[in-house]
């Protein structure tokens, strides 16, 4: 018998402006021992589905229709006190953000023991013992010791383990995981997902995995449900879904994700438009306005889940034919990179170091320590190329980006732009140089002044630098908007009237306003929905070709970097551990960390995922205030030996542009007798 059987679920949310049909007719089942993936973008209703099962809907939310059968009872019809016996007991749920989801004033031991005492008739000591057991089960190092810890004393990955522990403490039959790893670093994400798999086997649970990440779906699920605008559009076994996609949305989604194994000359498919407003959904197929196969039929009537194969239903009038010939992939010319020559070096970082003092105290500021954000990084960026900086949180990539645009001064070392030391410039001279170095921010919501109209926002750089008359500036603003794909009528509107993707375009337009030579893009697409990302990435490439721009792209996402970058720098805890061109990094990485990163990034291809067996990166990120001696990666490296603690490795050459710093690299260094001191 199925663990969970949902039939015709409709969950609506009452808002001031109307009723939002967040989940509109969803039916599926979860069998014991399997992991079912529920995938879709923000607003598709996947989270609401999960919350409906637990009956934890937010204010204004209610189940309008349908049944949720669990172990014979309909959860949708249960009264509150009966539902309470199910929550935490037979069904557990793990939320996205472990920092806010844990009570900051209770020890983790108590938080786990609490759920045990609620559902089992045990004493306080027994509950605590079970808590220690649970902590060990979820892989917490030194569990008994950690019982008395508070959440803020643990790292993100450990906190999520605690959340999982709370959800599992009473041996539930079903675990709902709502974006369990989205807030975590990539290497930690891999650890947590592996832990979930492991626990599923050991405890004989079923897992409902809710996520937006197709790579995670490919690697960790048995069956997949694709949701769009409140409805399920396709259901299939994982292999089937990726190999014989039927629904155009699923196919479009897969085509829009930059991948590690795809040729970089291929252009990403960009799904036009935006998801529909669910308080007034369009008649007919909800994806039709954005679907390239749509006909009049699609706008008139709504397709239902069906199809020749009962194990692979889809809701579409014009599904993709898996047997037809594939249209040739569009090959896009990469911009020409100016060949290296003496003056083609646009920006050089020479032994740059940036340390931030950690002070405490409102009255007497004493330095308690320093955060070593960037430690001795040397990089050369050539005119017209794209440098990608990749690494996890705390690696220093953002700080380097800020030093490049002179928002920070290096503690030591130099940032040379066109032969000039940025640190030596100030006042008017610096202002002049700033024209050439612009920044595109990560957060589309915080990077635009909410009180200013878009027109003023885009005119501001021109006004500050005194470029052109008022009329000329206005014309330039209209040109910029057109270039980034927005209507010139946008000048009158305020930022909050635009979507996230549109705001990112405005940010890009602002960065272009001064006709810079170099743009630093800090996580340009991380805050955007998956189907919007490709729009922005394509736009960035197009603009680069049109204006001969040099980019520094900062991201934790290796696939985004691969799509955009010529030269890639991998950073770990303030150090540049490897640098090289795309082929060097992605095909023949020399540093174990790079290799680990490549391995842990989920790829939307089930076969590739299943074939992964490389050594995962273990352990937690050390503190940036007190990094490990010698090689900073040694605490998590499977190849570490004594020398790694004693001596810091220097960058050695592995190719014309390929360098890495490791005592036991995965490739053979070139000219091994010479140690490159750079």
């Amino acid at each position: 018998m199925s663990v969970l059987e949902i039939d015709g679920l409709r969950t609506f949310i009452k808002r001031r402006s109307g009723v939002v049909r967040a989940v509109d007719g969803v039916s599926f089942a979860v069998e014991p021992g399997e992991t079912v993936g529920l995938v879709g973008e923000s607003g598709c209703g996947k989270t609401m589905t999960g919350l409906s099962i637990m009956r934890l809907l937010p204010g204004g939310g209610f189940i309008a229709d349908g049944s949720i059968r669990f172990g014979g009872t309909d959860l949708a019809a249960l009264n509150e006190s009966a539902m309470r016996k199910v929550r935490g007991n037979e069904i557990g749920i793990v939320f996205q953000d472990p920092m806010t989801s844990l009570n900051p004033t209770m020890t983790i031991g108590h938080q786990i023991a609490e759920v045990v005492r609620e559902h089992r008739d045990v004493s306080k000591t027994e509950a605590m013992a079970r808590a220690a057991e649970v902590l060990a089960l979820v892989g917490m190092p030194r569990p008994a010791e950690r019982l008395g810890y508070y959440p803020h004393q643990l790292s993100g990955g450990l906190r999520q383990r605690v959340m999982i522990g709370i959800a599992l403490a009473c041996d539930p039959k079903l675990l709902i995981a709502d974006e369990p790893t989205t807030a975590l670093d990539v290497t930690i994400q891999d650890q947590i997902l592996t832990l979930l798999d492991d626990l599923k086997e050991r405890l004989g649970m079923a897992i409902l995995l809710i996520t937006h990440d197709m790579g995670v779906i490919a690697g960790r699920t048995d069956r997949v449900l694709v949701m769009y605008a409140g409805k399920i559009v396709e259901k299939a076994g994982t292999g089937r879904l990726f190999g014989r996609t039927r629904h155009p949305y699923t196919a479009a989604l897969l085509a829009s994700i930059p991948r590690l194994d795809q040729p970089v000359t291929h252009r990403l498919y960009a799904i036009p438009g935006l998801p529909p407003d669910l308080s007034a959904p369009p008649p007919g197929c909800r994806f039709a306005p954005r679907c390239r196969f749509a006909t009049e039929e699609c706008a008139a009537g709504e397709p239902v889940l069906g199809g020749p194969d009962p194990d692979h239903p889809y809701a579409c009038f014009h599904p993709i034919d898996p047997n037809s010939a594939l249209p040739p992939a569009e090959v896009v010319d990469r911009h020409d990179r100016i060949e290296s020559g003496a003056d083609s070096d646009l920006l050089v970082l020479e032994h740059t170091v940036k340390e931030f003092p950690v002070t405490s105290g409102a009255l007497m500021r004493r330095a308690v320590g320093t955060v070593k954000a960037v430690s001795d990084v040397t990089l050369t960026i050539r005119r017209g190329e794209t440098l990608g900086l990749v690494g996890e949180s705390g690696c220093g990539k953002t700080t380097i980006g800020r030093m490049i645009v002179a928002l920070e001064r290096p503690t030591s070392g130099r940032v040379m732009f066109e032969g000039q030391d940025l640190g030596s410039l100030s006042g008017a001279r610096l202002r002049q140089v700033r024209k050439d170095l612009q920044l595109m921010f990560q957060d589309p919501y915080a990077s635009l002044d909410p009180r200013m109209r878009v027109g003023s926002i885009l005119r501001e750089p021109l006004q500050i630098q005194g470029l052109g008359s008022a009329a000329e500036q206005r014309e330039r603003v209209a040109d910029l908007l057109r270039e980034v794909g927005l209507s010139p009528r946008s000048t009158e509107l305020y930022p909050h009237e635009f979507s996230g993707g549109q705001r990112q375009r405005i940010g890009l337009a602002r960065a272009l306003a001064l006709s810079p030579k170099l743009i630093v893009a800090d996580e340009p697409v991380s805050a955007l929905d998956v189907s919007i990302r490709s729009q922005i990435l394509n736009l960035m490439r197009r603009l680069q070709a049109a204006h001969g721009l040099t980019y520094v792209v900062i991201s934790h996402d290796l696939s985004v970097i691969r799509y955009l970058a010529d030269q890639v720098g991998v950073m770990y805890l303030g150090k540049l551990v490897e640098v090289g061109n795309s082929a060097d990094i992605y095909d023949r990485p020399a540093h174990p960390y790079t290799h680990g990163l490549l391995n842990t990034i989920p790829v939307p291809d089930p076969e590739v995922e299943r074939a992964k067996h490389g050594v995962a990166v273990v352990g937690e990120l050390p503190s940036a205030m007190d990094p490990p001696s010698g090689c900073r990666f040694r605490t998590r490296c499977p190849l570490a030996q004594d020398i790694c603690a004693a001596e810091e490795p220097v960058l050695r050459a592995f190719g014309a542009e390929h360098k890495a710093a490791c005592h036991f690299p995965l490739q053979t260094p070139v000219a091994s007798s010479e140690v490159l001191v750079q």
Binding site: K85, N89, S101, P104, V115, E118, G361, L363
Partner: protein, 315 residues
């Protein structure tokens, strides 16, 4: 945590020094000379000169300030010529009464306001919330003495249930022996303090209620009462310490008003009478005292916060 406490103490000392400086400056802003103000209009120049010499008023100002500080550290708040007592004795006589008034009111106010805030948050925008908010608003907007007047008018004049005047006994045991006289003053102070607290408590409780960890608690299958008690209350209590600290100046002000209204023999009344009678040493002495009490109160509140909040404790 120790570091935090030490820094706060350092801050407090600086603030107290600043306060003494300001009071010192005010003292010397008196029209005419201090001597004249204290000794009276009919003082002879000879008496004034003697007074000046005696009290070091001919020394350069910085020196006077230092001796002023010295005085204060030794607990000497000045000497009242009009009442022929040291200010300390006046204060120490009245202080216990104040402690009773303020202490009892504060405790009662907390016992009412904290649960009230939680109830309001849970029943947000329903009738209970609106009524409570409405009443709190009106109480908050009412000058303290108006409320006191209303209570007097109702209970003392119309119903003749309670006396309109507080007990006048000169020792604390005497004061406590006549509890009926304490009811109205304490009730008034409690009500205005509840009004002051409840606005903050309500928004703090509402904030806490929307936190993710409350959702996690519900996901564990806990009962509403368990959630409220174990999760909401604990997290809402921590800012209460700071709230009390911030409210101390307000509470002392209300105290003064209420003492005057009910003729309650406390420090506030002594201050008021001294001000009316031009008894400057008492005025200045008590100003310093009240300011120091405020700073100390804030300090204790912050330290309590540090002890209660694990994020500060384990840092």
């Amino acid at each position: 945590m120790i570091g935090f406490i030490i820094r706060r103490i350092g801050q407090a000392i600086i603030v107290i020094l600043g306060v003494t400086l300001i009071v010192f400056i005010l003292r010397h802003l008196l029209p005419g000379s201090i001597a004249r103000a204290i000794l009276g209009i009919r003082a002879t120049p000879f008496a004034i000169a003697a007074f000046n010499r005696q009290n070091g008023l001919n020394n350069p100002l910085p020196l006077q300030y230092v001796s002023f500080l010295n005085q204060l550290i030794h607990g000497n708040l000045g000497y009242s010529f009009k009442q022929n007592m040291t200010v300390d004795s006046i204060v120490s006589h009245d202080l216990p009464n104040d402690l009773v008034l303020v202490g009892v009111s504060l405790v009662l106010a907390l016992l009412i306001a904290i649960p009230l805030g939680i109830v309001q948050a849970v029943r947000r925008n329903k009738l209970t919330d609106y009524t409570a908010t409405g009443i709190a608003f009106v109480l908050y907007s009412m000058p303290a003495y108006l409320l006191g007047l209303l209570l007097i008018a109702f209970f003392a004049v119309n119903l003749r249930l309670l006396p309109a005047e507080a007990p006048q006994a000169s020792t604390i045991s005497g004061v406590l022996a006549d509890p009926s006289g304490l009811v109205l003053p304490v009730a008034t102070l409690t009500l205005v303090t509840v009004a002051l607290f409840s606005r903050y408590m309500r928004s703090s409780a509402i904030d806490s209620l929307t936190q993710d960890y409350i959702r996690t608690a519900r996901a564990k299958g806990l009962r509403q009462s368990a959630i409220l008690y174990r999760h909401l209350l604990r997290n809402s209590l921590i800012p209460v310490a700071t709230l009390v600290g911030i409210s101390i100046p307000g509470i002392l002000t209300f105290g003064l008003i209420i003492e005057q209204l009910f003729n309650f023999p406390g420090v506030g009344l002594a201050y008021f009478n001294a001000a009316v009678n031009g008894d400057y040493p008492v005025v200045f002495g008590i100003t310093v005292l009240v300011a120091v009490a405020t700073v100390l109160g804030n300090l204790i509140a912050d330290v309590a916060y540090a002890v209660l909040d694990p994020r500060v404790r384990y840092d």
